[in-house]
Symmetry: C2
Subunit: 201 residues, 2 copies
DNA sequence: CCTCTTGACATACGCCTCGTATGTGAATGA
DNA sequence: TCATTCACATACGAGGCGTATGTCAAGAGG
């Protein structure tokens, strides 16, 4: 056999490059990350890069896709573990805020990603995180818990609020206390979507 | 006289460079904007740039500062013209969303700015827009209209929601209809800050 | 009126980075 | 065994940034 020897090696090198890129993009930022250093760090050259990916931007695409998938998976778990859909929505918000504390996610997904690749709403995988939030909101509307607002609009604004909160917390001198304030404010805003003034369980 | 001849000329060149930079950064993006082309467009060279500003990033700082001031001024006017503080807050949100439809503001202030200069919350001038929103919220809390939430948290999340809405609207194929959905959702979220379920005039 | 200094800007240079074109050796298939 | 492919390395060219150096007009002083 040994039929897939070439392909296996290639997949491994792709993975190595993506790993190195996550590291480099997260610590130095996209613009300041040198492809020479990045590839050399895993024992390759730029030749491997331009063979496996379209260009530097293509590598960023691959990194973004990978991280987006990981974030979506974590959010999915959070929602499934919540005792009710409404609390699931709030838990998603908190989880999103906390995830954005990760410098890697912050730098790559929230700062450089949009600047280099354009608005996240147009990303393939269609921003899996947003998708999950929208699904949750849709379910809550069908249950009559949430006002019949536009699902995509509500999802996007909630995500935007969470994102802003995350950046704030991350840049704060005292992340702990700021985090609780941010989560409280998020809950307050989210309650504006409720049909009844009283929050459900 | 003619004492300030040198200084006046320098100020004028500074202004010309900033104007050219706004144009170039907005249309090509920060990374793809060539300082050679940019300066040549106003009849200067890179020499003038590095004499008037620290470096390329310094020029972006100057541009951001200018635009931030203009945005704050427009928001201030919107708030003053509103018939009530609460409606002022909503009007500010709408105005912010609409402002972000301007490609210049979008690209420079919302995409490249944060990516290159770091989180906006740490910008000098301290993001005048946020400041205005916070002032409005503080007033509403003192009047008992809004829940006693953390002012900065509420302001940041509201701004984040508006920003997210703006990017969504800007990237939409049908901005008109999306804009109304976004504004509706913003009003819904904002109402979550109210002490009473019923919205005030 | 002449000289000297200052400073705003232009010019010239080196270094780095990206993207592509070309080379190469190992894995495949016959 | 030989030819082919292909994953990757090497070599090359273009362009951009930042700095060091040059230059010439505007002011200061006698």
């Amino acid at each position: 056999m040994a039929k897939g020897k070439r392909a296996a090696a290639m997949a491994e090198n792709r993975a190595k490059l993506i790993r190195a890129a996550r590291e480099a993009f997260a610590t130095q930022g996209y613009a300041d990350a040198s492809m020479d250093e990045l590839t050399a760090a895993v024992g390759l050259t730029r030749g491997a890069l331009y063979h496996n990916f379209e260009d530097k931007k293509g590598l960023l695409w691959a990194v973004v896709e990978q991280i987006d998938g990981e974030m979506a998976e974590r959010l999915r778990i959070v929602r499934e573990q919540a005792p009710s859909p409404w609390l699931g929505l709030l838990a998603e918000g908190s989880a999103y805020i906390k995830m954005a504390l990760d410098p890697e996610i912050q730098r790559i997904m929230l700062l450089d990603g949009p600047a280099v690749l354009g608005d996240p709403s147009k990303w393939p995988g269609e921003n899996a995180c947003l998708d999950i939030t929208m699904r949750t909101i849709r379910a809550l509307i069908e249950e009559g818990i949430v006002k019949p607002v536009d699902v995509e609009a509500a999802g996007r604004l909630l995500n935007g609020a969470a994102l802003s909160a995350a950046l704030w917390v991350a840049a704060a001198d005292d992340p702990k206390s700021v985090l609780s304030k941010a989560v409280d404010a998020f809950r307050a805003l989210a309650s504006g979507l409720l049909r009844e003034a009283r929050e459900p369980a």
